[in-house]
């Protein structure tokens, strides 16, 4: 019988015949590349200048990432100052701590937590907010009394997942008037001004021991780096919540959000003008059944319900939508309303069903 490895090679050959074969740069892609290169050149010059004048205080900085080629080509960050390792401050100290932890010394065994992060179904079994190392780091090193881990659905920057994550500081003993109904948001009032939060990005590591690149259950963990995220020039939306200082957004009223969504759905029933409501109107994944489902019949009516939100801090509101055709087919979509940088409301898609079968999600 053919071996599994050979079948995988054969699969690669067979499936490649079905793969799209040609990729051309779109005008939008070329524009983004040119703008990105220009911005990056500026960032490199700024980094060189900062180093020349001793502007980097942290023991570990991202300056080495600016070498050619970049370590993280899909990173959006430019220049940041990173703090050093904690609670040990060097590899030598970490090795000593590991030896003492192995011997059962309680001064170091608290740095060992086998539950985090070995994965279960692709997710860490324990989230960073439940790990003593990180809570002690926030309290003892940064002096934060109250904090909130996890903002919105995307809680980790995509690079180095799940060993980097973002935590925001909450004002002690205050409630957040902007999000009285959000279980996380109502307990976390801003610390900088009415909307902005001190935000730290933390990188975790097992400096001494790992098993084949995976975490070892007996290895000590350290905070291997951290940086205070800076404010964004533009209002922060969507994924950028893990890249910039968190700034909560005043959510639209339910009436305004519903009216906006009704206009979008009416345009779909009318058969024109619906694309302008979409966050990414050019993406093939945005909405597969914009004007008609698979039976080809036009929509004749719709219904909607608010499922969740507004969610802190983005003001995101999730809706479930049903579109009905004359032929009796029903399309069910999960959508949410988000804000663009210019403050305009847009529709984003979570998933779509046609005739009860999930056919895709963006």
């Amino acid at each position: 019988m053919q071996g599994l490895e050979d079948r995988l090679k054969e699969l690669g050959d067979n499936m490649s015949r079905h793969a799209p074969s040609e990729l051309r740069p779109t005008a939008r892609a070329l524009r983004r590349i040119r703008v990105g290169r220009a911005v990056r050149s500026g960032a490199v010059l700024a980094t060189v200048a900062a180093l020349a004048f001793g502007g980097f205080a942290g023991a570990r900085s991202l300056s080495s990432d600016e070498a050619l080629p970049p370590a993280n080509p899909d990173s959006k960050e430019t220049t940041e100052t990173w703090g050093g390792m904690w609670p040990q401050s060097s590899l030598e100290e970490a090795r000593r701590a590991q030896r003492l932890a192995d011997a059962g010394d309680p001064r170091y065994t608290w740095q060992v937590f086998p539950e985090w992060p070995p994965f279960q179904d692709g997710e860490p079994k324990v989230e960073p907010g439940d790990v003593e190392l990180f809570t002690r780091f926030l309290q003892e090193e940064l002096g934060w009394d109250e904090f909130s881990w996890g903002v919105g659905p995307e809680r980790y920057p995509p690079e180095n997942w799940p060993y980097e994550f973002v935590v925001v500081r909450c004002a002690p003993d205050e409630t957040n008037a902007l999000y009285p109904n959000d279980p996380d948001g109502r307990e976390c009032a801003p610390t900088i001004d009415g909307n902005r939060y001190e935000t730290v990005r933390i990188r975790a590591d097992q400096p001494v021991r790992e098993i084949g690149g995976d975490p070892s259950p007996s290895g000590i963990w350290v905070v291997s780096g951290w940086t205070m995220l800076q404010p964004s020039d533009a209002p922060v939306t969507g994924d950028d919540f893990v890249r910039h200082q968190i700034q909560q957004v005043a959510p639209p009223s339910e009436a305004k959000a519903t009216e906006f969504l009704r206009s979008f759905l009416q345009a779909r029933v009318d058969g024109e003008g619906a694309k302008q409501y979409l966050a990414d109107p050019d993406s093939s994944l945005s909405l597969p059944f914009l004007y008609t489902p698979t039976n080809g019949a036009p929509y004749e009516r719709f219904g909607l319900e608010l499922v969740r939100g507004p969610a802190w801090p983005s003001g995101r509101m999730d809706f479930k939508v049903r579109l009905f055709t004359e032929g009796g087919a029903t399309v069910v979509e999960e959508l949410f309303i988000d804000r663009r940088d210019d403050g305009r409301l847009v529709v984003k898609t979570v998933s779509t069903w046609d005739a009860e079968a999930e056919i895709g999600y963006a």
Binding site: R7, K9, I33, R34, P70, S75, E159
Partner: protein, 167 residues
């Protein structure tokens, strides 16, 4: 001037990079996702991200490694994000079929491959389906050779134990 640092490279140079490496990026994204439209979106985004930050365009081997790494990262990120979006929208309580795509009976092995944890899937696709050596695969994934072998071993074991795969 071609290959110089900064933002002044001509569009034609970018187009050359697309022509040279585009099909490879598409193929990898397709094998990782099973969805041609999604694969195009991911490959396009990978080119944008790499070309925005990559200065040494005269080194095609390094470019290819960074491009494939970015395709892998974006694919992983896409599936994580999709799952989180669905969990978030449903209040984190409802569980549905988490298969990235429904391939039906088109290929049971591919379906099983797409059910693997993303890092195991990436290791197997890059090494076996994409014909990269173990060292090249480890470089693309930014892990040690030992870690790669561990991932490949666990991935193969999971495939063998998958009900849909007869070995």
């Amino acid at each position: 001037m071609l290959g110089r640092r900064g933002g002044s490279l001509r569009s034609t140079r970018f187009e050359e990079m697309y022509a040279t490496h585009g099909s490879e990026a598409l193929r990898l994204a397709y094998l990782m996702t099973g969805d041609s439209a999604l694969a195009e979106d991911i490959a396009q985004e990978a080119f944008v991200r790499v070309l925005k930050g990559f200065h040494n365009l005269r080194n095609p081997d390094a470019f290819k490694a960074y491009l494939l790494r970015t395709v892998t990262n974006l694919t992983n990120s896409h599936f994580r994000k999709s799952k989180r979006e669905r969990d978030f929208a449903r209040g984190g309580t409802e569980r549905r079929n988490e298969d990235p795509v429904d391939l039906g009976s088109r290929d049971m092995l591919w379906s099983a491959l797409l059910r693997l944890p993303t890092r195991q899937r990436a290791a197997l696709v890059l090494h076996y389906c994409h014909d990269l050596s173990e060292q090249q695969t480890a470089d693309v994934m930014q892990i040690s050779l030992k870690a790669l072998k561990s991932l490949v071993g666990r991935g193969l074991a999971n495939l063998r134990s998958d009900e849909g795969v007869t070995v």
